[in-house]
């Protein structure tokens, strides 16, 4: 029953209660657990979204201060032609694709399926690591060319955004390892499939967040002005 109807129901009238709302305990435990991890991931993604949203809003506000110098625009600025960032994005995209393959691949033979899955997960790990290493390289390049974290606020925000995004990816990586270890211990295919499905969501989410950050951090001053105006700054 949808949430609005639920809130309007009169619970002291037993015939008004929709018992199917609370079907859970008639279901198998497995289903409860699967739905629970999904719910938890949804809420967790809401939390992470709030984090990035807040940093973005403060970033946009700061972009209109006189001392803010965007990192893109004229050709001598580092992100006017951000090749390294594109490469990193490609790695993250590949990681997303490969983990989806790992989660959904079907094969007639179980050992073939497992082999494919393991291979795909290894590639996921590899591409994700390449992404993170690539980000660290960007940091290094930036600092070396004089855009240190404590320079312009645009710099500070760049390191902050990418640092927090990278930490979340690293955390997801640890979760993925746990999923794999649990599968090795319990050989529970259904559970593995469910958990992998959630990891896929997470990787896709981080990829989308990254592309949004990419667009935001490499925008020109004119773009910032427009967005800021739209937000009321």
């Amino acid at each position: 029953m949808n949430i609005n109807r639920q809130l309007l129901s009169k619970p002291w009238l037993s015939d008004d209660a929709d018992i199917t709302d609370s079907y859970n305990q008639t279901q198998c435990l497995r289903v409860v657990q699967t739905q629970s991890t999904k719910t938890a991931l949804v809420f967790f993604l809401m939390v992470v979204t709030v984090v990035f949203f807040l940093i973005s809003i403060t970033f946009l506000s700061r972009s209109q201060y006189p001392d803010f110098t965007a990192l893109a625009g004229p050709p001598w600025l580092p992100f006017s032609n951000p090749i390294t960032l594109w490469v990193n994005s490609a790695f993250l995209l590949l990681a997303s694709i490969v983990i989806r393959f790992a989660a959904t691949s079907k094969a007639s033979n179980e050992s073939v399926a497992n082999t494919r899955m393991v291979l795909a997960l290894c590639l996921t790990g590899l591409f994700s690591c390449l992404f993170l290493i690539g980000q660290l390289l960007v940091w290094q390049q930036l600092t070396a060319s004089g855009f240190a974290v404590n320079g312009n606020p645009a710099n500070s925000y760049f390191y902050l955004f990418t640092g927090i995004h990278g930490l979340h990816l690293a955390g997801g990586f640890i979760a993925l390892i746990r999923v794999v270890i649990s599968f090795v211990k319990h050989a529970d295919n259904e559970r593995l499939s469910a958990n992998l499905g959630l990891c896929v969501w997470y990787w896709h989410y981080l990829f989308i967040v990254w592309m949004l950050l990419f667009a935001l951090l490499t925008a020109t001053p004119a773009t910032y002005k427009t967005i800021a105006l739209l937000c009321g700054f």
Binding site: S9, W12, A17, N24, L29, Q35, V50, V51
Partner: protein
Amino acid sequence: MKEIQPIADDHQPSGFFAKYVWSLDHKVIAIQYSVTAIFVGLIALVLSALMRLQLGFPDHFSFIDPSSYLQYVTMHGIIMVIYLLTALLLGGFGNYLIPLMIGARDMVFPYLNMLSFWTYLVSVIVLIASFFVTGGPTGAGWTLYPPQAILQGTPGADNGILLMLLSLAIFIIAFTMGGLNYVTTILQARTRGMTLMRMPLTLWGIFIATILGLLAFPALLVSAIMMLFDKLLGTSFFMPAILSLGENLDYTGGSPILFQHLFWFFGHPEVYIVALPAFGMVSDVIATHARKNIFGYRMMVWAIVAIGGLSFVVWAHHMYVSGMNPYFGFFFATTTLIIAVPTALKVYNWLLTLWRGNIHFTVPMFFAIGFIFTFTHGGLTGLFLGNVVVDLPLSDTFFVVAHFHMVMGVSPIMVLFAAIYHWFPLVTGRMLHTGLGKLHFWVTFLGTYAIYLPMHYLGFLGVPRRYFALGDTAFIPDSTQTLNAGITVAALIVGVGQLIFIFNLIWSLRRGKVAVANPWQATSLEWQTPQCPPVHGNWGDNVPVVYRWAYDYSVPGHKTDFTPQNKTDAESLLPDKGGL
């Protein structure tokens, strides 16, 4: 039908460590949270006594100097708000009650639950460690405003503030872990028949508060990370071009007001994270001890949801005099006064629950009544501060201190005591001593009112907060010194009076009267477990099925004046009404 247990609970834990230290059982974790929170809260209570000694008797205590005074102020505040109230209400009561009240065997993620406690403990240790580093803990006020928090001239600007920010970040991680557990368990693990609207208000309060926490704590995390960057990496998120003690620093362009926006975007929902579980729990205590259904249950639920939602759009009422764009004042004053409406409705509903009830004057009921009285007072003084122009003369004075202690200190503490006296038999199988409980109540209720009522008038006069000493001012009469001394005496009495409670807790654990099952004859599920206290797995072989809402007290045509949620109509109705 298949029996439901959380996956990790395949077998009973054995051995001391598995049972009591690394336990995955929500009840043990709840007690771990509660004991830690109360312990650290007692430290904060001692700090407040030190503060009051200075305010009541200035020039008497040479070990309290302006530097340590500000450190006491800061640590007292942050411990009470975050490490005591939030942790105890959500980590303690939330953990204990959620699975029991919804008919589940445990939280859906027991391992994560355990991790959340140990992470919380680490955050407490990091916080306490700031007492032992060079410079001591931060003395920037619990609000930690930059630039002063990280600059010389404020205590702990070198090390204390770093540990504080680190501790907060760790706490937020712990809270997120716990919070995911609470919302997911409530949404996914309710037993058959337990619709959302059949949940007791305790759960609604905890549920909405958890959602608030999940969405609001990120703002504190972001502001803490940015402040750490400013201090450690020299960035200028919050730091404009400034001098520090006469020397020009390297910062430029940042905005201190930005921190305030982020902080209060968290800070205002935070007070509802504390208040909503309290509202929920006191509703259940009142209903049970007055043998009457909560009046206007649906309105109570809507009010909790409305307050939760509105709490995100009122934050800048903490910033009326911050120098922010003054036109914001119109918006935030309006939203703030709007939020008063659902809050007032809740107060009316508590009163209307008592009306035509059959009120048993048990210790929990006493504290609940004390809550109504003090919360009404505190809520009403909030209307002064919420109305932007009235806030002008009152902001940053003792009026604010008195207001927030009434609504955050006294009222939730009244509920916490009510809740502890109420649920102690469930947790321990024994009753807390009634005589000591009543004595504890009177000392606390009358004592806290004696502390905070007069304090409002210091605020009307214009006496500033966070002042180490007033000195000689032309417009503040000498009689305020007497008033301050009186408040200090009352505070010390109340503080010492809590020893009655601590003694009662410890004594009753061993020697308290053994409780019958469901001693208060309550309807909610947590009292319907086969064993009292409930054992691991809570429900024995079969989880309960729910047939009614949580407030079937004194229902006409029923056998007894209470009908538990898991009783069918056949079991509860009188024979001539269709029962067996």
